[in-house]
Amino acid sequence: MTRFVAGRIGFYTLVALLLAFFTIPLLWLASAPFTSNPTYEVRLPDFTWENFQIILEHPYALGSLVNSLILAIGTAVLVVVMSALAAYALSRVRLPGRDALLYALLLLSSIITGTAAMVPLFQLAIELGLIDSHTGLILIMTGGLLPAAIFMIKDFMDTTPKSYEESARVFGASPLQIVRHVVVPVVRPGLATIAVWTIANVWGNFLMPYLLLSDVEKQPAAVIMYTLYTEGGQANLKVLSTFGLLYSVPVVLMYLFVSKKYGFRFHGGIKR
């Protein structure tokens, strides 16, 4: 009994500490946008809406959020669909050199997301006529994220039982139908994780959108965020904090949507 109580106390202390660790840095985002003259100090705000007013009147702020949505959702859909198909096939059929190939691609993907790749990616986009287009950017970002996504989903595919697929096959389902109606429901949490991971990656990406899109009307919020500085590079905390908050909200909403709809937990479904 005492052991149980001690365990409870230990559990809640640990959870409280972890909660504090993750919550305290967020306080600034909760206070600064509502403060008239925000500094780096976290203060009780005076609850002004003035900063939001400035953002609403900003010529590109809201449009950039729409662009971010287009890029994030477009990339997430492509990554999820392509990686699911590829991972399923790679998981079920032993293609020669499969694992070595996956590792090699994964390693190469780290080069592509780095700064050094900007010249090749830029010139590639030019050659393919993909400059200044959301589609081009989506394709490039998808290419960079796919290996890791396949890698992750394949793990989920590997651990799902194959008996359902066999039964479905007995009833005459085509492989594509099997993937859609049997496999996807089972690995849904994995797919949801990939989707959120992709969205988070795209949402924060600044350099590639900036370099590949020249039309400001197409720029995502990450780029607009970087413009809220002065001539001498000083941060305009008034607008930065407020836009930062607005910029964060859609990702959080998308997360909530994906997690509610597709669930991150494995319990349920046919597994139980």
């Binding site: 096939a89 780290s110 290419g143 890698f151 997360y255």
Partner: protein, 310 residues
């Protein structure tokens, strides 16, 4: 590149209870399997492999963003690599990167992520939602915003942390720069590990845990004997991905700009400074290739490690 990867034992990844079923359960066959893989591979070939090889090639040139070397880049062979190996700044960055990866990825994110997933595994309701919510919030917030949050947290004059601890003037970012960016990156990235382990733990058949509990196994024993074997593949994936990403993570730059005195100039920051700020693209590409080789070694190390433990 593929040939230098020692082909990992497929059994490592396939170490699942599902073994024994015929593996191609849906009757794909090689041809249709190829068709399933083709779109992804095509995209990867064009937008990943090709530019990545191009980067490796650039690493052999003295190519610059501007100036004469931009107009007429010369082939310089391994000069960039020699330059890196004789540059104390590069070695400094390499050592710092290992500290950063070990501290924030392996110890920080993996351990904390698993702890969180384990603590919350059987919970429902508000506590779980709140805990997972804030952890994931830290992960999905864009870096540009997060940098401001942490400056506000760690500022020596008006930072929240100093105010809470009652130590005004304590310069976290100057006196403990590596610790600061390790905590920062742990905070930032734990959610991914938490979600991955959460999903993986859900994969452990509850009946196995139940019988272990009935047999009197302690929490630790359950972890070691029942949970660990089930999630080994996930641990491997998690370690591989987290390490790889952390090696290439540029986030700390927004917090410390590599300072003070290059004490947080990890390799990704070094590449950024070289390629973007100094415009020395050939050298930057060479460093990127070196990072790739380091990652290759690390990946092989993980594969060996988890295979031996089996």
């Amino acid at each position: 590149m593929a040939r230098t990867t020692s082909p990992p034992d497929p059994k490592v990844l396939d170490a699942t209870p599902a073994r024994g079923y015929s593996s191609d359960a849906a009757g794909l066959g090689r041809l249709r399997a190829g068709a399933f893989v083709a779109p992804a591979l095509a995209l990867i070939a064009v937008f990943l492999v090709f530019p990545a090889l191009w980067v490796i090639y650039l690493g052999l040139m003295n190519y610059r963003l501007t100036g004469i070397a931009a107009a007429e880049p010369q082939f310089v062979g391994l000069d960039n690599y020699l330059k890196a190996l004789t540059d104390p700044g590069f070695w400094n960055s390499t050592v710092l990167t290992f500290q950063f990866v070990l501290g924030s990825a392996v110890i920080g994110q993996v351990v904390l992520g698993f702890t969180l997933a384990w603590l919350m595994r059987n919970r429902r309701g508000a506590l779980k939602s709140v805990v997972e919510g804030v952890v994931i919030l830290a992960w999905i917030l864009p870096s540009a915003v997060v940098a401001f949050l942490w400056v506000a947290l760690l500022d020596r004059d008006s930072g929240t942390l100093n105010a809470m601890l009652g130590i005004p003037g304590f310069a976290w970012l100057l006196d403990h720069p590596m610790l600061s960016i390790i905590l920062f990156n742990t905070w930032r990235g734990t959610a991914f590990s938490m979600m991955l382990y959460g999903a993986a733990l859900g994969n452990v058949p509850p009946s196995h845990l139940e019988s272990a509990r009935l047999a009197g196994a302690s929490g630790w024993q359950q972890l070691r004997d029942v949970v660990f074997p089930h999630i080994r593949g996930h641990i491997l994936t998690n370690l591989l991905l987290i390490s790889l990403w952390t090696f290439n993570d540029f986030g700390p730059f927004l917090l410390t700009a590599g300072g003070p005195e290059n004490k947080t100039e990890i390799l990704a920051v070094y590449v950024y400074k070289t390629a973007l700020q100094s415009g020395d693209l050939g050298y930057g590409a060479a460093i990127s290739t070196i990072i790739l080789l380091i990652n290759l070694v690390v990946a092989i190390f993980y594969l060996r490690l988890l295979r031996r433990r089996r």
